[in-house]
C-alpha cells in the first residue's frame, strides 16, 4: 500500500488519570477522551517523529504515567 505523504500520522497516546478539557491546548490540539477505567486518550495528528517525541516529553514532564503510544489509521 503506497504511503500517502499528504496525510499526517495520527497517534493515540494513553495515559493514566483523567485530564480536564483545558489540557487540549497544551497538547497542541489533540482531542481528549476520558475512559471509564480511569485512563485518558489523547488522539490527533502528529506532523513527524520529532513532534511525537516532543509530545511524549510533555507527558513525561508533567509526571503523567504513559501507558501506550500507538499509531492509528486516520478516521
Amino acid at each position: 500500500m503506497a504511503n500517502d505523504l499528504d496525510q499526517p500520522m495520527v497517534y493515540q497516546i494513553r495515559i493514566k488519570g483523567h485530564l480536564g478539557p483545558q489540557w487540549a491546548d497544551w497538547f497542541g490540539g489533540l482531542s481528549i477522551t476520558l475512559e471509564d477505567d480511569g485512563e485518558t486518550l489523547l488522539t490527533g495528528p502528529v506532523v513527524d517523529q520529532a513532534a511525537l517525541y516532543g509530545l511524549l516529553r510533555k507527558v513525561r514532564d508533567l509526571g503523567m504515567p504513559l501507558i501506550s503510544a500507538v499509531r492509528v489509521k486516520p478516521p
Binding site: 495515559i15 483545558q22 497544551w26 514532564d61 508533567l62 503523567m64
Partner: protein
C-alpha cells in the same frame, strides 16, 4: 565561554529542618559509593533532588553539585560548568582547560576530558559529583562526553546522576560489571509508614491510618502528589470529605491537587504564582518587575511561599534566588496560558517585563531569552547585538541560533540585518550553510533605501564572503570581497574592518605579494593599539614575523614572535602556536638545535588541544629538518610521509610544496635520486630540481635552473628565497669548476646572511660548503663570519655529521708544484699552531731552515701568511679540516 558562571547551578539544596528520614534509601546510596555511578531515575515529583541533597550533606565526603539546564547541551558550556563545579572540591583544577574552552576554536572534547581526568586523578580525597536534572541533556556530544567520563572515571570520584528518564549511557555494561547502583521510582515512593510520617508529623495533619492508606493508594506513594494533598488538607476543614472526593475520582492527581491548592490561596498569591511561572529563576526584585503590583512585595511573597512548602526551591543561602519545582512550574505555566488564551498579549507582556529587568541588571542572555519568548523580535535582536561584542561571539551560540531558526521567513525578510546575523552565527557553526543566508540577505536588501546601515550590511556580507574564501584558500576572491567590504563598511565599524583588513593581508601573503601584505598587517596592528588588542592583533603580529623571516631579518622576526607570546596570555592561547614554530625555525637557523627543539615542544603543547590545523604540516617539515641535521634520515622520511598523508587528507594542499621540498632533501640524503627527481618535477620546485641536478653531477643544468629562479625571487622581493638560491648557486659554481665566481657569490651571500645571523643555511650544504668557506676565508672574505661558520662545521664533524649528500667534488685545482714531504710536515705543525722555534725543535732543524721552508710553502700555495696557508691547504684537501 565568556558568559558569566551562574553560581546557582552549583548550589546543592541544603537539608531541610522537617523531613521524613529515609534510612533505607540513604543506606542504598552509601552502598552505591562502592560503584562508579549511582543513578537516581524516576519521573518528576519523586523527591530525587531532595533525597540526593540530604544524603550528600551527610555522606561524609566533599561533594560537587551541578544542576543542568537546556543550555548545557552545548558541549563547551557543559565542560566549563563541569570544571567550575569540580573547583568546589578542588580549588585550582582545570585552569588550562577553562582557558582552552574560551578560545575561538575550542579543542576536541576527548582531549579536554583526558586532560581534566588526569587532573581529577590527583585529587587526594574521595568525593562525589552530582548531576541533577540530567534528562534535559539530549545532545549527542554531551552524552558521548559523559560516557567517556564514566569509562575513565578516576577511582576517587563517584558520580551521581538524577534524572527523569534513563540516560543514553552504557548502563547495561555498568550493571553487568557491578559498577552501577540504582534508585528507581519503586524505591523512591513513600512507603505507607513513610507516608504516615510525612502527612502527620511533617505536614502536621492528624489523619487516621485508613485515611493515610487511602491517600497513599491514590497517589501510589508519589511524593509530589502527597505533598500537594497535604497542603490542600491543611487549608481544608473537612479532610475526610476531601479525601473521599480525591480518592473517588480518576482525575489526574497533580492537576486536581494544584487546582485545589491554588484555589485556597489569596488572589494576590494566585496571580503571583501564575505570573512568575514564566521565570526560570526568581528573586524579589525580578518578581516585582514582572507583577507591577505595588501592593505585593516580591521578596516577602517568596519567603511566605517557601514557608508554606509550596514547591519553591532556594538556589542560594541568602534567600535571594529561588526556582519553582519543575513540575509545579510546568503546571502553573499551563494554567497561565489557559487563562490568557483569550489574550496571549498578557503573557508576552510578562516576558517583556522580565526581559527589561534582566537587561537593567546586565544579565544579557536571560534578557534575550525573555525577549524571544515575548515574540519581540526587535528587542531580541537589539539584545543579541548588545553594546559591543554580540552574544554569539561570547559563547551564547545555541540559543541565538535556535531563535533565528524559529523565525518565519517573512520576519527575516523584513529585517535584512537578521539575515546577516544568521549568516554570522552559521559561520561559527557550519560554514557550508552561510552563502545561502547571504543571498537571502541580499534579496531582502534589494530595493531598500541605501543609507549608512544598509551600506554597512552590504559591507558585512562582502566581509563574510571574504572569510569563506579564506577557508577555500582562494586569494583572488578574498581580495575582491575584502576590498568591497572595506568600501561599504561603516568607518566606525572597526571590529569588522580590522577582521577584513587582516583577511586582505592574508590573501596578499598567499599570493606572495609581501609588501601589500605587510601594509595590511601593519594597519591591523596599529588599530589594535588604539582599540585594544584583539585576536587579530595577535594573528597580524605572527604574519608580520613570517614576513620578517622572509626578509631574512631573523632577530626582528624573533622579537615579533616573542611579542605574540606576550600578547597571548599565560597560559598562551593556542593561536600563538605559529609564533612558537617561528621561534623554532629561527633557533634552528641560528644552529641552537636544543632551543629549536624546545620551541617545537611548546608548539606541540599549545596545539595538543586543537583539531587538525595546517600548522601541523609546517611543524612536521621543521621537525624533519631538525632530524636531518641530527643525522636521523629515516626519522625525517617517516615524519614527512605522515605529513603528506595529513595534508592530502585534510586538503591543505597549499602546504604540499614545503613538504615535497623537504622530502626531496631526505631522498637525496638516502641516495634515492629517482624519487627526489620525480618529486621535484611533479611539484615544480626550482631549488629542489637544482639540488637533484647537482646530485646527478649535472652542474650546468643546476645553474640553468637556478639563474631564472633567482631573478624571479629578486623581482618579487623574496629575500629568503634569494639567499637560498645564492647559497646553492655558489656550491654549484664550485662544483662546476668556477672557483673564483663561487667564492665571489659566496661572499655576496655571506654579506646578505650576516645581519640575520644565519648558520644552518650554510652548514646544511655540507663539505662542499666547508671547502668553499675555507677558500673564502683564505681570500679574506668576511673572515669573522666565515670563521664562525667553519667552527660550526667542526662541531658538526665532531658529532660525526656530514650534511652533504653530494658526490665528492671533483679534485680542486692541483698545485702547479706540489709540496714536498718536508714542507708538508712543516705545514702540519703550522696548522697545529706551533711557532717557528717550536717547529725547529720538533724537526731538529734550525729556525732559519724553517723560515726557508715557509717561504717556499707560501709561494707554492700563493699566500702570504700562515693562516692563509693553512686555510688554503685545507680547501685544497692537502690538510684535513680537523686537527
Amino acid at each position: 565561554m565568556s558568559t558569566p558562571i551562574l553560581a546557582t547551578k552549583l548550589y546543592a539544596p541544603p537539608p531541610r529542618p522537617k523531613i521524613v528520614l529515609r534510612p533505607r534509601l540513604t543506606e542504598r546510596l552509601d552502598e552505591g559509593l562502592l560503584c562508579r555511578l549511582t543513578l537516581v531515575s524516576a519521573p518528576a515529583g519523586f523527591g530525587k533532588t531532595t533525597l540526593v541533597g540530604e544524603w550528600v550533606a551527610g555522606c561524609g565526603r566533599p561533594a560537587a553539585w551541578l544542576s543542568l539546564d537546556r543550555e548545557d547541551n552545548d558541549p563547551t558550556r557543559f565542560l566549563a560548568y563541569l570544571v567550575v563545579a569540580l573547583r568546589t572540591v578542588a580549588a585550582n583544577i582545570g585552569e588550562g582547560v577553562l582557558g582552552a574552552l574560551r578560545a575561538p576554536q575550542p579543542p576536541p572534547i576527548e582531549s579536554t576530558l583526558t586532560t581534566l581526568l588526569n587532573e581529577i586523578a590527583t585529587i587526594a580525597d574521595d568525593f562525589v559529583f552530582v548531576l541533577d536534572d540530567y534528562h534535559v541533556i539530549d545532545a549527542k556530544p554531551v552524552g558521548d562526553a559523559l560516557a567517556f567520563l564514566l569509562e575513565h572515571l578516576p577511582p576517587r570520584m563517584h558520580l551521581v546522576i538524577a534524572t527523569r528518564e534513563d540516560p543514553n549511557l552504557p548502563l547495561a555494561r555498568l550493571r553487568a560489571r557491578g559498577q552501577l547502583a540504582e534508585l528507581r521510582a519503586a524505591d523512591l515512593r513513600f512507603t505507607p509508614s513513610e507516608a504516615a510520617v510525612f502527612l502527620n508529623r511533617v505536614m502536621g495533619l492528624s489523619l487516621s491510618p485508613e485515611d493515610v492508606a487511602a491517600l497513599e493508594t491514590r497517589t501510589e506513594g508519589w511524593i509530589a502528589g502527597l505533598q500537594l494533598a497535604a497542603i490542600s488538607m491543611q487549608g481544608h476543614e473537612d479532610t475526610t470529605g476531601f479525601i473521599e472526593s480525591f480518592t473517588g475520582s480518576h482525575h489526574f492527581v497533580l492537576d486536581y491537587l494544584v487546582e485545589e491548592v491554588l484555589r485556597q490561596q489569596p488572589e494576590s498569591v494566585q496571580a503571583f504564582l501564575l505570573r512568575t511561572s514564566i521565570l526560570d529563576r526568581l528573586c524579589g526584585p525580578l518578581c516585582d518587575a514582572v507583577l507591577l503590583d505595588p501592593s505585593v512585595s516580591g521578596q516577602e511573597t517568596l519567603e511566605s511561599i517557601e514557608r508554606a512548602n509550596l514547591f519553591l526551591v532556594p538556589l542560594d543561602d541568602e534567600r535571594r534566588w529561588y526556582r519553582y519545582h519543575h513540575l509545579f512550574a510546568d503546571l502553573l505555566r499551563q494554567r497561565l496560558l489557559q487563562g490568557a488564551a483569550s489574550s496571549t498579549g498578557d503573557v508576552d507582556d510578562l516576558h517583556r517585563r522580565a526581559s527589561k529587568w534582566y537587561e537593567d541588571n546586565d544579565l544579557e542572555v536571560e534578557a534575550f531569552q525573555h525577549a524571544a519568548a515575548a515574540q519581540d523580535v526587535d528587542r531580541a535582536e537589539r539584545l543579541i547585538v548588545g553594546e559591543g561584542v554580540p552574544l554569539y561571539f561570547r559563547g551564547t551560540v545555541a540559543p541565538v541560533l535556535k531563535w533565528l531558526e524559529s523565525l518565519p521567513k517573512t520576519v527575516l525578510d523584513a529585517r535584512p540585518s537578521l539575515w546577516v546575523m544568521y549568516a554570522s552565527v552559521l559561520l561559527l557553526v557550519d560554514h557550508t550553510a552561510v552563502e545561502q543566508k547571504l543571498q537571502a540577505a541580499e534579496a531582502a536588501l534589494h530595493g531598500t533605501e541605501p543609507d549608512d546601515r544598509t551600506r554597512d550590511l552590504v559591507g558585512r556580507i562582502a566581509s563574510m564572503r571574504a572569510t569563506l574564501a579564506v577557508i577555500q584558500h582562494d586569494a583572488e576572491t578574498i581580495i575582491a570581497q575584502s576590498r568591497r567590504a572595506l568600501e561599504y563598511l561603516h568607518p566606525d565599524n572597526l571590529s569588522i574592518r580590522t577582521a577584513t583588513t587582516w583577511t586582505l593581508g592574508h590573501a596578499h601573503q598567499l599570493q606572495g605579494d609581501r609588501a601589500a601584505a605587510r601594509e595590511a598587517y601593519d594597519e591591523v596592528i596599529s588599530t589594535g593599539k588604539s582599540l585594544g588588542d584583539s585576536v587579530y592583533t595577535i594573528a597580524a603580529t605572527i604574519n608580520l614575523g613570517q614576513l620578517q623571516e622572509g626578509d631574512n631579518r631573523l632577530s626582528l622576526a624573533a622579537e615579533s614572535y616573542r611579542r605574540v607570546l606576550q600578547l597571548a596570555g599565560d597560559p598562551p592561547q593556542p593561536i600563538a602556536c605559529e609564533a612558537c614554530l617561528g621561534l623554532a625555525r629561527i633557533a634552528y637557523q641560528w644552529n641552537d638545535l636544543d632551543a629549536a627543539q624546545r620551541h617545537g615542544q611548546q608548539f606541540i603543547q599549545l596545539t595538543r588541544q586543537m583539531g587538525s590545523v595546517d600548522s601541523f604540516a609546517s611543524y612536521d617539515v621543521f621537525l624533519a629538518r631538525l632530524k636531518l641535521a641530527r643525522g636521523d634520515v629515516d626519522g625525517a622520511v617517516a615524519i614527512l610521509a605522515k605529513a603528506e598523508e595529513f595534508v592530502r587528507q585534510h586538503n591543505f594542499l597549499f602546504r604540499m610544496p614545503d613538504v615535497a621540498a623537504a622530502q626531496v632533501l631526505t631522498f637525496l640524503h638516502k641516495g634515492d635520486l629517482a624519487k627526489a627527481a620525480h618529486l621535484a618535477e611533479t611539484h615544480e620546485l626550482p631549488v629542489s630540481r637544482a639540488r637533484v641536478h647537482l646530485a646527478q653531477g649535472d652542474t650546468s643544468a643546476a645553474l640553468a635552473t637556478l639563474a631564472p629562479w633567482r631573478r624571479q625571487a629578486e623581482a618579487k622581493g623574496w629575500e629568503d628565497e634569494r639567499l637560498v638560491v645564492m647559497v646553492l648557486q655558489a656550491v654549484a659554481l664550485q662544483a662546476h669548476g668556477e672557483e673564483d665566481e663561487a667564492a665571489q657569490l659566496l661572499g655576496d651571500a655571506l654579506a646578505l646572511a650576516e645581519p640575520g645571523g644565519f648558520v644552518r643555511i650554510f652548514v646544511d650544504e655540507g663539505t662542499p660548503m666547508a671547502r668553499l668557506l675555507s677558500e673564502a676565508a683564505a681570500r679574506g672574505i668576511m673572515p669573522g663570519y666565515s670563521a664562525k661558520l667553519l667552527a660550526a662545521f667542526e662541531a658538526e664533524e665532531q658529532k660525526g655529521e656530514d650534511g652533504s649528500y653530494l658526490p665528492p667534488a671533483p679534485p680542486a685545482q692541483p698545485l702547479t708544484e706540489p709540496l714536498s714531504q718536508r714542507e708538508l710536515e712543516v705545514l702540519r705543525l703550522i696548522a697545529q699552531g706551533l711557532s717557528n722555534r717550536e717547529i725547529g725543535k720538533r724537526l731538529f732543524l734550525a729556525v732559519d731552515t724553517i723560515k726557508g721552508h715557509n717561504r717556499r710553502i707560501f709561494a707554492k700555495l700563493m699566500v702570504r701568511r700562515r693562516t692563509e696557508a693553512v686555510a688554503k691547504a685545507r680547501s685544497l684537501g692537502i690538510l684535513p679540516h680537523r686537527n
